[in-house]
Amino acid sequence: MLYLYDGSLDVASILKDWYDIEAKSNYGAYVTFVGTVRSEDDIDGLSFDIYEPILQKWFDTWREKANSKGAIIKMAHSRGDVMLHKSSYISAVFSPKRRVALELIDEFVEDFKASAPIWKYDLKDKKRIYAKDRSTAMEHSGLLA
């Protein structure tokens, strides 16, 4: 499942909810990744734009991939502003087997960084500045150049 929230994520509550939902599903491994806004470059926080239709399609592809390995994937992300030391991103894999869970979370998080249609902005001096240097051009970029 894909969950989008306005503002920062309630990490403890999300990790608990996901665990509780799958508590009796007989998955032996539950691996989670939590991304938290770091204090650096004098930012006050980060802000995010999300294009949901493509994010949902991208996520559905991963859901099917996980499913084919007997695993499930969940993800939560923030829309809008997230202040320092708050969380903007959580993903999780449940799997019967630990190797599947550890490998899937790694591949999923890396592909998320390269492919999820989400744009990040630094919040600094009341301005919202696109984090161009830290962003990755998506596959087939430059098609119209």
Binding site: D49, A137, S141
Partner: protein, 73 residues
Amino acid sequence: MVRVEFLGPIQKEVLELDIINLNELADILQDDKDMKEWLDISAVAVNDTLVSNRDFALKDGDKVAILPPVCGG
């Protein structure tokens, strides 16, 4: 008409264009100085599916999205 949307940090209004493929869109955007910094580094989706071929045909009612570099998380 084809609707063209510019996502994320690209500060540009939606365009409604009478075009039949992505080549025509490329010609139009290459002449648009607002797009100079973006075309090289942006991906293209038609009806919310990423496209890899510039000959991709467009029909009336299609929605094109221009996606600049991403950074979730």
